[in-house]
Symmetry: D2
Subunit: 137 residues, 4 copies
């Protein structure tokens, strides 16, 4: 349980986007950031991290992009659609690249942390795409 | 719902601390970070942000410290108790300072976002203190 | 003086992009992130932060995006052009939006911190565009 | 060259600490953060990253702590000595732990990126300790 919805509902003004879309996206961003940081670390804890170098790298990148996207979306004051669009596009792309890599290791190497992380990445990719659709509407 | 517990459970090795304590602390850190970023923004959206300058500033500091603490605790590989202790102490302190400021505005100015944010800060402060107790044991 | 060039030169492999372009971009990202965080704080320290709410908000967003872009570009292992392109595009956009806002306050309100910050944003915007050109080549 | 000094000099009020001490600490924090992120990546690019797992982990932790410390010190509005002290203590500790690990690999394995990173860590550790001394004065 996070306080994201309550924080949005107590904002002194109108939210920039539909509240449910926004809260789902904020929650998904921070969850994905945590999952990616944990997956990079779990890959490093495996017997052969060298074979997981690309996964670790994409995990770290994706964690950073999600973290930033979650922060930008947490702000409603003077909301700037171009800024939101720019970070959401980068985030959907980052999550897609990281999910693909994690899914590969989940299937080929049976790595459970990659399977869970891919799930968090796909959820975040979807949430970003939903927010982008709403921005375009 | 976050994936923090699943990520920890699929780590290829033993967690550094009791899993429930750790997951509660990781979740509380990211939740507090989001709440503090949102509270800084909500304060800025109020009619007189000047009167909330200290709250905005402590919110931003606390958000950064919680974010870092959540990341450090998400890593189990080569766990270093001194590193964990250092960030947990800073985090408990940051959360306490920010909670106090938010509680003041929640009561004096009836600001609901400060009330919700103070709740997230106190939860994170407690979670950090619990993790610190376990580290000391 | 930063250690970015030395860190890149001691990387055990080839850098993803031309070293000078890369180092200039990394340095510009972290410099812009710091300038934006400081400008948000300086705006908050002015007599009427309400009139600077959009500047503070864009400063915070831009700081977060630059920070992430600097981190992604600091990584050479398993370099992924699509990831680099995604963050560089978001960063050039964020810096452009923030620079425009800061330039406005520098001229209209004679705010020196906005003038310096706009300079850091324009430098970072240019550095991101240079890196994007090289990626496309 | 960073804009940190110019940003501090254009702040509309008095800086919390001696300007030179503060700017040196801010610059050292962001430089150390970049160096640690780059060193984690360079370690991952080596033939046997498994043997460098502790270095990678401490690098990532130290990067996060330095990043947060640089941001907190970039803010002068409603400066809170207890907050500054908490993050500076954590940062000096993180830099010391990471420097020690990097120095070990610089000497034993002749890793140049670890040598450069250790230099950035020691510079930041010193800068944090200087700022702490001034806070205590």
């Amino acid at each position: 349980m996070t306080h994201a919805r309550e924080m949005l509902d107590t904002y002194p003004g109108a939210a920039a986007l539909d509240a449910s879309t926004l809260v789902e996206c904020i929650d998904a961003c921070f969850d994905c950031s945590e999952s990616c940081n944990a997956c990079a670390d779990a890959c490093l804890g495996e017997d052969d991290p060298k074979s997981l170098a690309r996964c670790i790298r994409l995990n770290l990148d994706c964690a950073d992009v999600c973290d930033t996207t979650g922060k930008v979306l947490s702000r409603q004051t003077a909301f700037e659609p171009e800024m939101a669009r720019a970070v959401l596009q980068a985030c959907a792309q980052a999550c897609g690249l990281c999910a693909e890599e994690c899914e590969h290791h989940a299937m080929e190497m049976n790595l459970e942390h990659c399977r869970v992380c891919a799930e968090a990445c796909r959820r975040c990719e979807d949430a970003c795409n939903n927010a982008l659709s709403e921005l375009a509407a």
